[in-house]
């Protein structure tokens, strides 16, 4: 098992917890398994805790209770740098205060591989170019990131995450298990128009198949889930409503219960 979360709870009120004050929990009793080579979808209404769960699973936030194991080792025992070499996060949207070029952005993914005062070398450049290639953004390399369209930005941020995970290793035959990359995506298609949504789905599918990237993604996009997710976790009010193989869990009944909508409507969507 690549990633295994058991009975995880989370609250943003850390200080209150230390004082023993009862606090509202954003996540409660969550258990998720992510086998390597899988694509796991997190589904749930707005405010159900999807983004928080992604942050907890990716080690950005520390859980209030429960354990999360990456390759059998608690997430908290990895250093930031070591963790960054194993897993990468693509947030919902990315803004920069300054005008970085696309290549600059992708090279930032190499941070975890460099020493404190080290500049990127040819190897890092290779990794970045490979990531640009894999996301079909090579032609944008010298553009300024803020001037890109939403879809282009999304792909560049994914490229940055791939440079961070070093997908070239994933390509190598017989690569050790601990080098298998794990990618978290928070609503990757949310702000994209139809064309970019399709492109994004295609890209993710290709990354999964060609580069052996394990993914956990949150989304509202049922079609995306149907298309690329092996398993889904249905989240509602911070709890797991249902979890399992996509085909089994993603029934019209379950989805209509999840979102409080009429079943026939969901049937049409899932058709």
């Amino acid at each position: 098992m690549l990633l295994q979360a058991t009975d995880v709870a989370f609250s943003y009120h850390r200080h209150a917890i230390r004082r023993g004050v009862p606090v509202p929990l954003v996540l409660r009793g969550i258990s998720v398994v992510v086998p390597h080579g899988s694509v796991v979808g997190l589904l749930g209404p707005n405010g159900s805790g999807k983004t928080t769960l992604l942050k907890v699973l990716s080690g950005t936030l520390a859980p209030t209770a429960g354990t999360i194991l990456l390759d059998g080792t608690p997430l908290g025992s990895y250093s930031r740098r070591a963790l960054a070499r194993r897993l990468a996060v693509v947030p919902q949207d990315t803004h920069t205060a300054f005008d970085y070029t696309v290549l600059d952005m992708v090279l930032m993914g190499r941070y975890a591989w460099l020493g404190p005062f080290e500049l990127e070398g040819p190897d890092d450049r290779d990794a970045a170019l490979a990531a640009l290639e894999a996301t079909g953004t090579s032609h944008l390399a010298s553009r300024l990131f803020p001037t890109l369209s939403g879809g282009e930005k999304q792909r560049v941020v994914i490229a940055s995450a791939l440079a961070q995970l070093d997908i070239r290793n994933g390509l190598r035959a017989g690569s050790s298990e601990t080098r298998r990359p794990l990618l978290f995506l928070d609503e990757p298609t949310a702000s994209l128009d139809l064309r970019y949504q399709l492109e994004c789905a295609t890209l993710l599918e290709r990354l999964h198949e060609q580069h052996d990237v394990t993914m956990v993604l949150s989304t509202h996009d049922l079609r995306l889930v149907q298309a690329i997710c092996d398993s889904v976790v249905l989240l509602r009010e911070g709890r797991v409503l249902a979890a399992g193989p996509t085909a089994e869990v993603l029934s019209p009944a379950a989805v209509s219960a999840l979102y409080d909508v009429d079943t026939p409507l969901v049937e049409q969507l899932l058709a």
Partner: protein, 330 residues
């Protein structure tokens, strides 16, 4: 990725321009000196007026301008990166207000303060401001909240400004005049002792700047995004805040709160070399140093034998430039 050769060219050009400015500036001044006599070893230094003007008045002053200009520009870059806001100045978080309050107190109540000089008092004031802002920014957050930092800084600026007004209110005319003149900036350090005293602090600050240059790039993507790329966000924020604050405090205690260097120089540099902090920081340091040496040379020659406060020169150049940046940013 910027080619290594281009990085090297930029840094060498920057260092060269700073060096040329510092070496040439002492040849200009309000008095005419005989250059041949300045470097004449047969005249004892104690009797050599030209040499004393060159080595005791002008050269330390040019060095001070370079040190202060470079420090303010670099601190500006770091603060802008830390707060993820390109309009931040080294004075946004209240460091200079604290330093000014310290200086005002020393000028007004000098006889009763335990530490003698205005420089020491302003450094102490800067330290106090840094401590208060940091304590506030920490109190309600894991790590440092940049929003709270910004609000605390702005509030502290206003509060210290009020205290400065109060101190000026209770001081007499002559003191008020001196205090106002101090606020306009003055690089006439009259020797190397002040610079020597500030050097260790500034060396530490610049070492930290070099270490956090790359993490600052990642921080501009947001704290969570930086963390997920392997940055220890809290440590970097803390290092950036303290190093830039202390460097600013040292610069202000040497020369007063000289404005605009810390904002126009980083912007100009980014226009030319891009956003990568590992090249922006050294380039801004060099350009800031060169810029302030030039401004101070103008300040001490244009109205000779009177001197224009250097802060007025930087403001006259910097103000319109800053407005242009604001309009351009839209």
């Amino acid at each position: 990725m910027m080619l290594l050769r281009r990085r090297r060219t930029i840094v060498i050009a920057g260092l060269a321009s700073t060096l040329v400015a510092v070496v040439l500036a002492p040849f200009a001044g309000s008095t005419s000196i005989a250059v041949a006599r300045v470097f004449d070893p047969s005249v004892p230094f104690a009797d050599n007026l030209d040499a004393q003007i060159f080595f005791l008045a002008r050269l330390p002053r040019a060095l001070a301008a370079a040190v202060v200009g470079g420090t303010l520009a670099a601190a500006g870059v770091v603060f802008q990166g830390l707060l993820q806001n390109p309009l931040t100045t080294p004075y946004t978080l209240g460091v200079s207000a604290g330093a000014s309050l310290g200086a005002m107190c020393a000028i007004t109540f000098g006889a009763w303060l335990p530490f003698g000089t205005v420089t020491a008092a302003s450094l102490a004031g800067a330290g106090l401001a840094v401590f208060i802002v940091y304590a506030l920014a920490r109190a309600r957050h894991r790590g440092i909240s940049t929003t709270v930092l910004l609000l605390a800084g702005v509030t502290l600026n206003a509060f210290f400004s009020a205290l400065i007004l109060f101190v000026q209110y209770v001081s007499d005319f002559a003191q008020t005049f001196r205090a106002i003149r101090w606020l306009m900036g003055d690089l006439d350090v009259a020797g190397y002792a002040t610079l020597g005293a500030a050097a260790p602090l500034l060396l530490v600050a610049f070492a930290v700047f070099a270490w956090i240059a790359r993490p600052l790039d990642l921080l501009t993507l947001g704290a969570d995004a930086a963390a997920s790329r392997g940055v220890d966000v809290t440590t970097v924020q803390r290092a950036a805040f303290f190093s830039a604050s202390l460097a600013t405090g040292a610069a202000v205690s040497i020369a007063g709160p000289i404005g605009f260097v810390g904002i126009i120089v980083p912007h100009l540099v980014r226009l030319v070399v891009g956003a990568d902090h590992r090249i922006v920081l050294p380039a801004a340091t060099c350009l800031g140093a060169t810029f302030l040496v030039l401004c101070d040379t103008i300040a001490r020659t244009v109205l000779a034998p009177l001197e224009l406060p250097v802060g007025i020169i930087t403001a006259v150049i910097g103000g319109p430039f800053f407005l242009w940046l604001l309009l351009r940013a839209r």
